[in-house]
Amino acid sequence: MKNRTRFAVREAPHVEVLAPESNLPAVVERGISQIVSIGKIPGEIREMPVNGRTTIRALFIAIGIQNLDRCEIQRNGQETDLDEVVEAGDTVLAIAKIRGN
């Protein structure tokens, strides 16, 4: 059986993430080394392979989320900008601004 290397997904300080099943091993097997966790909350967090310089905005567009006007963008638990460039291990979340009760 092939010995797979696993990359640890770095968690933001003080942030605990319970995410759906990981597709990380398959991605790593294909030789892609930069993995970013990304998603809109409420909703799914997924792991995305990243090659080269990629902005947060580009990553969201890649997963089909274009309208982020009513979301807070967080990178590793801290507020960030859509034009920031992601790094391997980042957790990037668009958290919906909700108001109901």
Binding site: V17, L18, P42, D69, N101
Partner: protein
């Protein structure tokens, strides 16, 4: 031997290692008796909290029945009046029901801020909670159909105040869900449970998160301390 039943009192012994109502002396104010508000008041009373004041100006409508604790007979009644009746019937606890909109006032103890606009949250926070030393803890929830947020802030802690105020976006910035995708009882119950357990942790001098963000479908839970 069959357990003795007594129709006039509630026996809390199965929860005493988690929350002993006789040891809890704080006043609780709940501002807003809608979905999360009505569930939270119900849970607090079920736990044996006795000193509960609830503010709401609204009346029960048919579309409230699936996700609020009210029943068919309550339609058309003031929410606080209907809630007081339901809570007393279910728990023996007599809440103080105030049928008016809370805008500003003297608060103390634990405050659940459960209004449904960001403007009212911000206004009440600034006028009656922020830097108020008599308020030990403010718990605020925001809900959408499949998730929500729960904030727990000590109003005398500058760092928590600053971080919390960054989350007070305007109503115009907030997402507007379609009418048929706004609320469902399990989401309300989940958020009410997190909010209420936050108060239990506070009462027991245990740590609690200042911000909990919940997605129920799929399940994602984020928590943060300010």
């Amino acid at each position: 031997m069959p357990a003795k039943s007594n129709r006039s009192e509630v026996d809390y012994w199965r929860q005493l290692d988690i929350f002993a109502p006789s040891n809890f002396k704080k006043s609780i104010t709940v501002i807003g008796a809608g979905a999360t508000g009505s569930y939270i008041v119900w849970l607090l009373a079920k736990m044996g909290c006795k000193d509960i004041t609830v503010y709401d100006f609204d009346e029960v409508e048919n579309h409230n029945l699936p996700n609020q604790v009210f029943g068919l007979d309550d339609v058309g009644k003031k929410k606080v009046v209907a809630l007081a009746k339901a809570v007393e019937a279910g728990t023996g606890v007599k809440i103080k029901a105030v049928s008016k909109k809370f805008t500003k006032g003297s608060l103390k103890g634990i405050v659940f801020l459960l209004t449904d606009t960001m403007e009212s949250r911000k206004s009440i926070w600034e006028s009656s909670i922020r830097y108020q030393l008599k308020v030990d803890l403010m718990i605020e929830t925001r809900m959408e159909a499949e998730g929500g947020r729960v904030y727990a802030i000590k109003p005398a802690m500058p760092k928590q105040i600053a971080a919390y105020e960054k989350t007070l976006y305007s109503d115009a910035e907030a997402e507007e869900s379609p009418c048929t995708r706004r609320a469902i009882a399990p989401t309300v119950a989940a958020l009410a449970g997190i909010a209420t357990f936050t108060m239990i942790n506070f009462a027991n001098n245990k740590s609690f998160a200042n911000e909990v963000i919940v997605s129920l479908s799929p399940l994602v839970i984020l928590s943060k301390n300010f």
